[in-house]
Symmetry: D2
């Protein structure tokens, strides 16, 4: 392969390439790095920690917090982080820390954001901002007052498929958006205990699609009608007090309509598909697969494997991209691409959808207040 | 998303998952790690260094060697490696180093392998083993005598597409292999200087396909007939003394035939496709793309983007997988999946192909001797 | 090609094959044929005439009726039909005619069906049965009283894609149907004059999808909510008093939901796609294309052509299959697969959808009466 | 559907459309029609008879010949043809017959062509022209001397996929052709008796691909090397004296290479695929399927059905198009798109391939003489 040897013939090119490949240290060691902390050493905390450690040359994790000491300590060791703690307040006290990734349980988000903002830290926060819309508004106000940057983790926007589709819409290739169709189904339902504390399918699953509907239409939602039923497992209704199959129809201020199909169970695996249709064309994408091998065995012509079955596998790049993007926004003093307002908009849509389902009528977003 | 919160309801699951996700340190710090060195800080050296540092919990890079001191030093800093050197002999002297990744220029491979084997180091070596078949045989003998493990880097075998296709063949879904068809084209030709020192298209490009033909058929090549021409750029013939378009037909001992289409230029980008056809079925795969978005704009229905254009992007997973695999082989004392013999087999095929092209006749592999 | 010569070696096989291929006369000339008439020599009348003449060995067209004498006469000549007329009553008077294909303007359907039924003729009728639901009920009653067979031309059910998808649903591969998603868009809007007399988009376009929703779910519609807007051309609203973009959400008695996306304009051409999702799997299909050639030209990877742009091209097989099927039903004395009840069910859905759009609320089908 | 009613609002358009749809009689009955005969009432004869009868308004079959009287008679009845005969010489005697479709056994072609040409009839001939190259040359000479038109039935050229791919090549989208790859496999081997009289796989199967290679490259073949083996059924070698798996590599005068993969057995069904690769891009197509339904059943994502399994189903349009084309060429006095020379070129390639296989060396086309 000629590229392997290109070093010998084209040293200059090599150095440029090396520069691009370098994830971390070839940036001169005297270059300013952003000192960051991560709160929460759970699954998603590990993901952000890895990105910050290995794939973000200009970031340097300096503290990891987890309420289980063993997790905090082992994570610190794993990523070579100097400090760990079981109390997020240690982050507040450390003047060295410039930005914080909040990966703690949802119920702690609003308190942590307010405290971190007051301490002048930039904040990357996993969804949701807060449990109630009112709290979320308070959080946004606190952040605005503190003049720190905050980015809310709607990771799908940073996935190569979603981002490329959005780019097509923005380029004008689709024209005026007439309709958006979203399929978003989980492989299998979670435990009933989880459903009981999830806030319902609109709050827990559809909220990602509500955000993507806003992202793709480039508009605000005006009205929602939600249908749904318990089809997958009767316990989801009887014990979980929830539906498991939700069809939601949205009308946006720019005239676009959107349908969303959510289901807690999908035999084909984690099913994530998008279509945006408009006056000039359409853009669409299907699922991602672990490989693109097809088998023809005399009986059928089929893909060798089902799509990635787990959101962590499906959205690996998206999680990485969003963290890198926020680091860039801080260092280049740019507005983060997703804001607290994106969070409250999606929350309000989830509330409207639930209300529509219960009251069996179209609900206007103007009816929803904090 | 329920999985984010699953920690609260299912702590045991979480820990299992964490275990899987962990790339490095959550393995107890007292666990034995394999101490490794990397020779060569060029592009591919950086790739292996990243895998060994961040994605292989049980490996620990302890030295990096590059003949340019600046490169050696900055790479050591980047990956937090304790030692760096400009002389590979420092690796020999360090009793702490158990395994070495050779990413140096091809001309140095045979000398380095022999010295490392003699020093009792396990060896992962980028292609080729040596410049001549004779030298390669000596290298293999030296390694066998020293009883160290050696793995030759045919990375494509570790790519998810190639590996899955092979698995289908092995599963019996394809039956007896009748024909293999390989397309393997580069986006654009390298500089003439590179071609002049490349050993020709069979040695430089087709050698990967020769290996894959052996891999997919599970057999040894018996006879080759090579056709080719200079179609892309007349300088490749006049100054490079090479062809740029090669069609090669191979016959294997188990009766399988194979066609290979190599070209130094592909308007569609880096084009890597495989079909294996047999008595019971076929398995095939096409290219990998940066996303799976399709645009319909009233004029056409098309993919939003061409395939990955660069082998480093196309084979990212493959490079990572091969290095992880060798670490595993050493630690579990297993035979490496690719050996020096795989290297000499592919070299002999390249020699036979060149001979066929020059002599305009089918050449038997039995005619090729070290 | 061995099959061409197979006659020589396998004469018996040939005769069997010939028998299958034969569309008409190899059936012994003494075999009973069904004498049929076609009313209406417009586009769809021509299609049915061709099928009846050339592709239905056991049918024999004996009269063609069109109110334009020139059309009636030339059609009779074209297909070698003995009689033509400008008055459908001539069909009633001819005791030789056993079955009639009604392809006249919609406003004449109910009168013609009633008269034909009273005269003891079997009836194949293009949509709709009648202009109002009340009239349609009368028509059905008349047909039932006369004990003749009637089939309503929902041709999509006989298209290879729709029919195969239905078969998958019926086979149990999909399990319980949770959701059906239908895309059904026309390439470009019709003239305003047409829209003015069309009865609106639900009656004119969506009615096919309402039928397919019933077909795919295997259930009756319980409730509809219709959204829509005039997005394509303001004249469709101002002069046509209609919408051009309609998103409709349906709930079926078996719990299935259905979304329908209709638009009078589709830059990608005639866009007809279906997905049926259920407890065990899903079945889906996209558009039909004039060929399956892909071009990669260095800029893009694209289909060589857009889908069939015209319903007559897209549904060629469907039109042929439905007519053959009705001939078979008569000759074998079987129940036709689509009935007058299918027609009134779809009409009621269109009325409910229009009502929902006007009253901006979900409408139950139980609210719709003849 | 607005188009159905368009007659009411747009009568002029309707008449134009009708004109297009009309296959036969709406052409004024005084218009000159081409009187044709068909020799051979086997499978392919039936196909051409149907096209000539029902889909070619300006042709009129006036005689059908088959050596089995029952077949001749029933075919005449089926298509309403005035005369039938068991002796092709009756065609010669009938001054009314202007053109003849030869669908008789291959061994009779040369004699019939020469007689028909001498009688001044235009000739459409199924492959091959003759059994030997020498005879074929004589046939061509006879046709040229008689100044009648002759078209040889290479139907694939008239298939929508092949024709569209060729058009892409001709449009310049592919640039200079570097390589053509053809896959052409039969579902299952024919009876041994058939193979014994087939002239071998190159003459019987590959000959279509040899023609397509010339068609796609737009050049003449210079050299061939043929490999092959008996892999599918040992009787094909022992009793049939043939191979069943053939890989052939061709070099064309314009520098293009071509690989052809033929096999008598394909578990995926009738497998017909093409790729043309060049300096500016590539064009490719895969198989045709009876529908485009995909099923996802929790275990796999697959097409609902295998490709069309039989050449008569796969090439339905092609057979129809070629016959229409020849009628047009006669009536408009144009050169037929495929000539006797196309036939002899493909025959010579088959002879060269067989010679290469036997002599185990590349064979130049210049070695092959009549």
């Amino acid at each position: 392969m000629w590229q392997l040897l290109s070093r010998l013939v084209n040293n200059k090119l090599l150095l440029t390439q090396l520069g691009k490949q370098c994830k971390r240290g070839l940036s001169s060691s005297t270059e300013k790095k952003l000192n960051v902390a991560v709160i929460g050493g759970g699954r998603i905390g590990q993901v952000h920690m890895e990105t910050l450690s290995f794939h973000t040359p200009l970031a340097k994790p300096v503290m990891i917090v987890d309420f289980i000491e063993k997790v905090a300590k082992s994570t610190a060791e794993k990523f070579g982080v100097a400090k760990y703690s079981t109390d997020f307040k240690d982050v507040l006290k450390d003047p060295n820390i410039e930005a914080v990734w909040i990966c703690s349980p949802s119920s702690q988000h609003s308190e942590q954001i307010k405290a971190l903002a007051a301490a002048g830290k930039h904040i990357f926060c996993e969804k949701p901002l807060a449990i109630t819309l009112k709290e979320a508004e308070e959080v946004i106000a606190a952040v605005e007052k503190a003049k720190v940057k905050m980015m809310l983790a709607f990771q799908r926007r940073f996935d190569p498929n979603f981002a490329r589709a959005k780019q097509c819409v923005q380029s004008g290739a689709v024209g005026d958006v007439y309709a958006v169709h979203l399929i978003s189904r989980d492989p299998a339902p979670p435990p009933i205990e989880y459903i009981q504390s999830s806030g319902g399918i609109h709050n827990d699953m559809a909220i990602h699609d509500f955000d993507i509907a806003r992202f793709m239409t480039g508009s605000e939602c005006e009205e929602i009608i939600a249908y749904g039923a318990c089809r997958v497992d009767p316990k989801i209704a009887s014990e979980g007090k929830d539906i498991d199959t939700a069809i939601t129809l949205l009308k946006f201020k720019n005239g676009a309509f959107c349908t969303i199909d959510n289901c807690r169970q999908s035999p084909s695996g984690y099913d994530q598909r998008v279509e945006v249709f408009g006056s000039k064309g359409l853009v669409r994408f299907g699922n991602n697969f672990p490989n693109n091998v097809f088998i023809e065995d005399g009986q059928s012509i089929r893909r060798s494997d089902l799509p990635f079955n787990f959101f962590m596998d499906r959205y690996t790049d998206a999680y990485r991209n969003e963290t890198k993007e926020f680091v860039k926004c801080i260092l280049e003093n740019k507005e983060p691409p997703t804001s607290g307002r994106d969070g409250t908009a999606a929350m309000a849509m989830a509330i409207a959808a639930k209300k529509s389902l219960l009251e069996k009528r179209p609900v206007k977003l103007s009816e929803i207040t904090a």
